[in-house]
Each structure stands twice: as C-alpha cells, then as structure tokens.
C-alpha cells in the first residue's frame, strides 16, 4: 500500500517510515500541507497519515483541500496528532477513519489503525 505520511518532526517521521516499511508499505513523507497536496497528486496514496499541527496551513485545512478533489474523497485518512483530540471537532464530511492522540498511541496501535483502514478499503 502507498502511504502519504504528513509529519513535521523528522525523527518521528523516520520512526514511522521505518515501522511502516517493515510492514511492506511504500511511504512518502512530507512535512507541510502544501507539499502533501503536490505529492498526493504524484503518489496517488492509498492511505494518508496526518498530523494536524503543521507549519503554515494546518492539517484541517489540508483535509478540506484534499477532500475537495473527487479522486481523493474515499482515501482513508488517519489523524495522528499532538493536538488534544477531545477539544477538536472534525466534520464527519471530512471522512477521518481514525483519530489518534500521539502521546497515547504506540507504534503497534498506529499499525493496527493502518491495517484496519486497509482492510476496510479493500
């Protein structure tokens, strides 16, 4: 599966890439919303993993733009964020398949969320 990872922190990104690659996925990592849109166009990802706290445009802005293209409306998006998810309202129209709070999410839980999203899509 092709995964677009939108993660601003280099070390965390390196860790996620390593773990996801071990599972046999192809990963493309970007650190900003603008780059994510450009790369999504090139990669045609099967899944997106998104941090909401991004420089310039935040993850919600990315989601609105991403979902505005018809070919990306069904692609599962997993939010994995440092933002307090109890205080965030995300419209169901944005089609977020899983909302994870980073400090409480182990690598295994992230993988489980990815595998679940894959199983639902396929």
């Amino acid at each position: 599966m092709k995964i677009l990872l939108i993660e601003p922190d280099n070390l965390l990104a390196e860790i996620y890439v390593r773990v996801l690659k071990e599972e046999g996925h192809t990963i493309l990592r970007v650190s900003s919303a603008q780059a994510a849109i450009t790369q999504a166009d090139k990669l045609s990802p099967d899944i997106v993993i998104l941090e909401l706290q991004l420089p310039f445009h935040n993850g919600i802005e990315f989601l609105y733009e991403f979902r505005s293209y018809s070919e990306w409306q069904k692609i599962p998006v997993i939010i994995n964020t440092f933002a307090d998810i109890r205080k965030i309202f995300i419209s169901s129209s944005l089609g977020v398949s899983k909302l994870l709070y980073k400090p409480n999410t182990s690598l295994r839980q992230l993988l489980r969320a990815v595998n679940y999203a894959i199983s639902v899509t396929s």
């Binding site: 860790i15 991004l54 420089p55 440092f82």
Partner: protein, 242 residues
C-alpha cells in the same frame, strides 16, 4: 519606589508569564518523550546504535528546555543571574558545536558566521548560551521544511544599535506580527506561531525570556541573505578596554 500594590502586581504578572511558559514547555516536552518511547519500542527488536544515539540526543534536548525554563524562572535570583562581560563569538562557537548533532539529524547544514573581533557585551554566559541553544533547537527542529540542504546560521554582526546575535535560516522570514501574536498566545494555544513553527515553540519563548532577563529582546532579523530571530546587545567602549 514601588508600592505594595505595584509589587503584588509585578509578582502576579511574572507568575502568570511563568505559568504560560511552563504550559508551553510541558506541551513541547511531549515530543521528545514520545520519541524516546517509540525509540525504546524499536530497540526491543533491533539493537541499532543510531537509535541509542537518538535517545541520548532527544533526552538532552528536553533537558536543555527544562533547564532553560528554570533559569528564566530564576532570573530575579542574584545568585543565579548577574550581568557580566561575555564574548558572544565564543558563546556562539560553543553553541554551534553543541547544535551540530541536531542539525545533522534534521539534515540541516549548520554554519557559524562570526566575522571579525567583537568586544564583550554585558550579558550572562549561562543565560546567553542557554538562550542561543534553545533558539537553535527551535529554528532547526520546529521549522521543518521539505527542501533538502536547508541552511541554518548561528551568526553575529554589528549594527547601529550594537551587536546582533541570533539564529538564521533560508526559510520564509518570521514576521514581527507573527512573533508578537505568538508572545500573546504561547502557553494558551498549542501552535502560537503557526506560520513558522509546528510546535508550541516553547524553546523560542524560553529563549525570549532569557534574553529579556539580559535586558534585550528577541526580534525578527536578517543576516546576509538569511532571516531569523536575534537579539541586540549594546556595545560598551569601557568593556572593549577589558
């Protein structure tokens, strides 16, 4: 002379500022702690030397942030803080050396740009070193970019107002309004300077507090073609004799 009410007011303002800074620091500390947790998970299955190195470097970054916060909270204590003649060039040199592993980790080219000899300025060695380190951390780590070969400069130059020292890079400039808004919002919001930093920017605001303790302030500045954050220290002809 201060009245009791004024003193109470000052104490309250300082207390609130420290409280906000503490919340920003706590928010930022989530990142290194999560990195350590994940690295520890990885190390269960693989014994890679680079993971161990990363754990060490992440923990050191976190310690620097905590230490910087404690220094800033202690700036009124004369046993901890006193102005003294400090050579900025030498502090920048030490800071560049310490920041090199982080720059490497973040695929940045870190350069020291201190041309010429500068006379000492009135500052505090420990505060200045901590402030520049934290500023460096903030500029290197929290300003992620998708471009390769990002350049970060630890630099000093003379201006009409004194000696300017700071950290600069080749990413879009941080505006004065963004910094001003960030100062008003840090601790209350998770991303106070969203146009420039993806984190709580605690390291930037702790550095700001340390610079303020040294009677100067952090502001957006320019060095050659680079932009960044810097502080100006007044040059004294008396100190140049020392």
């Amino acid at each position: 002379m201060f009245s009791l009410k004024e003193e109470e007011g000052n104490y309250l303002v300082e207390h609130i500022a420290n409280d906000r800074l503490l919340r920003a620091v706590a928010e930022q500390l989530k990142l290194p702690l999560l990195q350590i947790v994940h690295l520890a998970d990885l190390m269960q299955s693989s014994q890679e030397e680079s993971d161990l190195r990363n754990v060490r470097y992440v923990a050191q970054t976190a310690l620097q942030l905590v230490d910087g916060f404690l220094l800033s909270a202690d700036s009124r204590n004369q046993e901890v803080f006193q102005l003294e003649p400090v050579s900025i060039a030498s502090v920048l040199n030490d800071t560049a050396h310490k920041l090199t592993p982080m720059a490497r980790q973040n695929e940045c080219k870190l350069e020291l740009s201190v041309k010429g000899r500068y006379e000492p300025v009135m500052a505090n060695h420990r505060f200045l070193e901590s402030a520049l380190m934290l500023l460096g951390y903030g500029m290197i780590e929290s300003r992620s970019a998708d471009s390769d070969n990002r350049q970060v400069l630890l630099a000093a130059h003379k201006s009409n107002r004194g000696l300017v020292a700071g950290v600069f890079d080749d990413l879009p400039a941080i505006g004065i309004d963004s910094l001003r808004r960030g100062r008003a919002l840090f601790g209350d919001t998770r991303q106070p300077v969203p146009s420039a930093f993806s984190s709580s920017s605690a390291s930037i605001f702790v550095a700001d507090a340390l610079f303020r303790a040294m009677e100067t302030t952090l502001y957006p500045a320019r060095h050659r073609r680079f932009t960044g954050l810097a502080a100006t220290f007044h040059l004294s002809t008396q100190l140049s004799i020392l």
